[in-house]
């Protein structure tokens, strides 16, 4: 406990970095996965390649990716952008299938009704299809959030700050309290974000009786 009170600033900075790296990655993964998943839904012939292809991104080992990315992006090895990009790729890998499943779950009757009512393409996508696909997308997004917050720690190995830094630093300096703090905060953050998503889901999807 002593270590915690004496190093609050370090801890808060690590926490801040962790949030600053993982939130943009989660949002970016969602924004990329929606069009990809929608394409997989609209083009059944290509849905296999799109879903499997994006899913394979998850098989890329994280450390080599983090070393390779700076070469591609031109950003410095310790630039947080590399972690954000890597986490976004992993997020896309996990989310495309959920998005496709979400759009596929909309009944043909509902689609017909929307057409008959006179929805135009764009409006129908935004106000009918996307909301109806949202519960399944949210389920995927919760997995992505947990996974992103866990994976975000990897950057610490290369010196990119996050809660993982408490972990690596604690190992190097043999401070057990620091290691435990890093683990507890990572788990806590994942739990907090998950809770927020559940609450957000209940607010945005009141027609859903259980978004458990």
């Amino acid at each position: 406990m002593n270590w915690v009170t004496n190093n609050l600033e370090t801890i808060l900075s690590a926490l801040g970095w962790h949030v600053a790296l993982s939130v943009p990655a989660i949002v970016a993964a969602l924004l990329c996965a929606i069009p990809l998943g929608w394409l997989a839904h609209r083009l059944p012939r290509y849905s296999g390649p799109i879903i499997t292809g994006s899913g394979l991104l998850f098989a890329i080992p994280s450390l080599p990716l983090l070393i390779l990315l700076p070469v591609i992006t031109g950003a410095g090895m310790r630039d947080g952008i590399n972690v954000v990009i890597a986490l976004t790729l992993y997020g896309i890998a996990l989310l495309v299938r959920s998005v496709a499943d979400g759009f596929n779950s909309i009944s043909s009757e509902t689609r017909l009704a929307a057409t008959a009512l006179g929805y135009s393409g764009g409006r129908r996508f935004l106000t009918v299809e996307l909301p109806l696909a949202a519960p399944i997308i949210l389920t995927g997004l919760r997995v992505v959030t947990a996974s992103t917050i866990a994976l975000c720690t990897v950057g610490a190995v290369l010196g990119i700050p996050s809660l993982g830094t408490l972990f690596t630093d604690g190992f190097q300096r043999q401070i057990l309290a620091e290691i435990i703090t890093g683990i507890v905060l990572t788990l806590g953050l994942a739990g907090l974000f998950d809770g927020l998503l559940v609450v957000l889901g209940k607010m945005l999807m009141p027609w859903q009786k259980q978004v458990a």
Partner: protein, 278 residues
């Protein structure tokens, strides 16, 4: 007036090698403005296909559909649909919108303000006799009959001149169905909407239609007439059959009950009602 002029619709066969499916073949008829015209016929005879040609959800392979002399093929389909009400079998309510939001869809798409749409919603709920506290329910919280009422209310909310209905009462229980049918007759009387109503149930057709078009496979018209004339003068055996008028099947007999009343029974001896003195 809605006029179908030699419309044909073929769908590609289920497999590449299979022959094309002819859903409707060279069908022509008119629907008079301000009346209920019923398209009746067995499942698969092309009723839905014909109905959906009116709001361009189905494009005829050949032939054309005109509304008041204008070929709808030249109209913007989205705009056209916003001017034509459509009710489907299971109501087709949007599951993520409340009753009020569902009813408000077309007025809002047509540019009504929230306040204007709210007025339409209140008026429509009253017209289909749903209490105002239904407004905030979601479709999943409605009975089949209530959902259909909302479906009708939604279709009529922006006062379309044309209403298309595809077996709208097919999935509700008989008692509720009779109520919904009567309500529809009243609404049509009040608004003067031109209605094209699809059913496979002949008693429903006879009850609702000013004009009935009885279809055989591929939308072939077997008879187009008023309900009375259809029953009095069936054009052929197909019509007689569909009306269930053939032979002994339809014969009714009377029987005196224990309390001295005269009961009418059908060919199988099942009670059909009591005979009353005129």
């Amino acid at each position: 007036m809605i006029s179908f002029e030699s419309v044909t619709k073929t769908y590609p066969g289920p497999r590449r090698s299979a022959a094309d499916v002819v859903a409707v073949h060279d069908t022509s008829f008119n629907v008079d403005t301000g009346t209920i015209t019923v398209l009746a016929g067995s499942s698969g005879c092309g009723k839905t296909t014909l109905l959906r040609m009116v709001n361009r959800m189905v494009a005829p392979t050949s032939g054309r559909v005109q509304i008041n002399g204008d070929d709808i093929a030249h109209m913007n389909p989205v705009q056209l649909r916003r001017k034509i009400g459509y009710v489907m079998q299971h109501a087709g309510l949007l599951p993520h919108k409340t009753v009020a939001e569902n009813i408000a869809v077309v007025p809002r798409l047509n540019g009504a303000t929230r306040a204007e749409a709210k007025r339409s919603v209140d008026r429509m709920l009253e017209m289909v006799e749903l209490s105002a506290d239904m407004a905030d329910r979601y479709p999943a919280e409605l009975s089949g009959g209530q959902a259909q009422r909302v479906g009708v209310a939604r279709a009529l909310a922006d006062e379309p001149r044309i209403l298309l209905m595809d077996e709208p009462f097919g999935a509700v229980d008989p008692l509720v169905r009779t109520g919904l049918q009567q309500q529809l007759i009243d609404i049509q009387h009040e608004l003067g909407t031109t209605m094209l109503f699809v059913t496979h149930d002949m008693s429903e057709a006879l009850r609702l239609g000013h004009e009935i078009i009885l279809l055989a496979k591929q939308g072939r018209i077997m008879q187009q007439d008023s309900p009375t004339r259809l029953v009095e003068q069936p054009a052929n055996a197909f019509v007689e059959n569909f009306l269930g008028l053939n032979a002994a099947e339809k014969a009714l007999r009377t029987r005196t009950t224990a309390d001295g009343r005269t009961m009418v029974v059908d060919a199988h001896g099942r009670p059909a009602g009591f005979l009353e003195q005129a």
